[in-house]
Amino acid sequence: MDYEFKLDQFEGPLDLLLFLIRKNKIDIYDIPIALITEQYLKYLEIIRSLNLDEAGEYLVLASTLIHIKSRMLLPVPEEAETEEGEGDPREELVRQLLEYQVFKEAASALETRPVLERDVFRRGSHEGDVEGTPEDEALVEAGIFDLVAALERVIAASGSRELLEIDLEKISLADRINEIMEILAKNKSLTFHELLGEASSKRQIIYTFLAVLDLVKLRMVRAFQNESSGIIRIFLAVEE
């Protein structure tokens, strides 16, 4: 067998396996697993020797192939075959291969379409087609990925370590803080109990408690306890 292939020829282990199946003109539903495993491992050796980063991705399938090969060598327990659904050990792999093949084909089908800015083009310029187009300030077009990407830029620029690990728990807390501040803006003050009354789940009760602590620490609210009744009342620290 000749090993001539381009390094970037394969998109992954499944792609390599499909290549071997086609190269050997094998029926995908009846893969001679010993032969294919042998060839797969030889290619894997080359990939590894070339120190390709992705060699690791090919290892998992290699072990799957070896596992299937060993299972096929074992005699099939007579009753188990039909009763317990212990079918052909190759079945799962075939399924995966067929599925992968479908999407590989779908990808090339997509590429044959008239692709924008490759085969067909939009109007090049939108400048000056109408003068003075006012902008509606309320409408914004942006995706959540743009937001994370923006954060990444900020961190890269500032080298700020503390920003690196974003604590989602803290952000959930921010949600509750926003809500409490809103409630307090409407009702001058509230008892802690009243705030809790809004919380429906255990999680929400915890967040309410943490949010009040945080707000006190941030000096955004003030909490007072009545000496005789023990009731805690929360006020906005600064009146608007």
């Binding site: 998109e11 992954g12 282990p13 499944l14 792609d15 992705e54 991705e57 998992v60 399938l61 399924r95 995966q96 067929l98 599925e99 992968y100 093949q101 479908v102 999407f103 590989k104 084909e105 779908a106 990808a107 090339s108 089908a109 997509l110 590429e111 379409r113 008239p114 692709v115 924008l116 800015e117 490759r118 085969d119 067909v120 083009f121 939009r122 109007r123 939108h126 087609d129 109408v130 995706g143 959540i144 990925f145 990407a149």
Partner: protein, 173 residues
């Protein structure tokens, strides 16, 4: 309305993204939707029939002007800059997302048999794919789907226009 055809033509032309009938009706308050649809199909047909540089295509849920395929060699030459093409790995990832959406990264990885993080990032950057939300299971994994731009770039009216996956059906039988 006098000149309705020309106005509709002007609106599609001036719009930066495909324009749908709803939006046109919004702008042309007193005009009947039926009349808008009538001039639309007249326009589409005229541009299709005549030997012109561009025509009106139905894409991403609306109507938009696009150059006709046959002139692409000259336009490419004019634009010189090479269009950024997607690598096969990125295209495969896009295909899985397009057909399987809403889909999790773990599912895409499984189909392709490799880690698809880099490809997903590329698709997010190109705005062909977006974060749809998070799945309500432990770990709250991110759910991906395609964008309006995906439809525009691959000249699809909507997702139902994606070529059907014939072989996959066979597999499911």
């Amino acid at each position: 309305m006098e000149g309705l055809k020309a106005v509709v033509e002007a609106l599609i032309f001036a719009s930066e993204s495909p324009l749908n009938v709803d939006k046109m009706a919004d702008v042309l308050e007193d005009v009947d939707r039926k009349d808008i649809r009538d001039v639309l199909s007249q326009l589409v047909e005229e541009y299709r029939r005549e030997t012109r540089g561009f025509w009106i295509v139905e894409v991403a849920g609306g109507y938009h002007f696009r150059t006709k395929n046959e002139w692409s060699p000259w336009i490419k030459k004019m634009k010189r800059g090479k269009p950024s093409t997607l690598t096969p790995a990125v295209m495969e990832t896009l295909a899985v997302i397009a057909y399987r959406q809403p889909v999790l990264k773990a599912e895409i990885d499984k189909v392709r048999g490799v880690d698809t993080g880099g490809a997903i990032k590329k698709l997010l950057e190109k705005k062909l794919v977006r974060i749809v939300g998070r799945k309500d299971v432990p770990g709250k994994p991110i759910i991906y789907g395609t964008t309006q731009r995906f439809l525009e770039v691959f000249n699809l009216r909507d997702l139902s226009e994606l070529p059907t996956l014939r072989e996959l059906k066979e597999l499911q039988e």
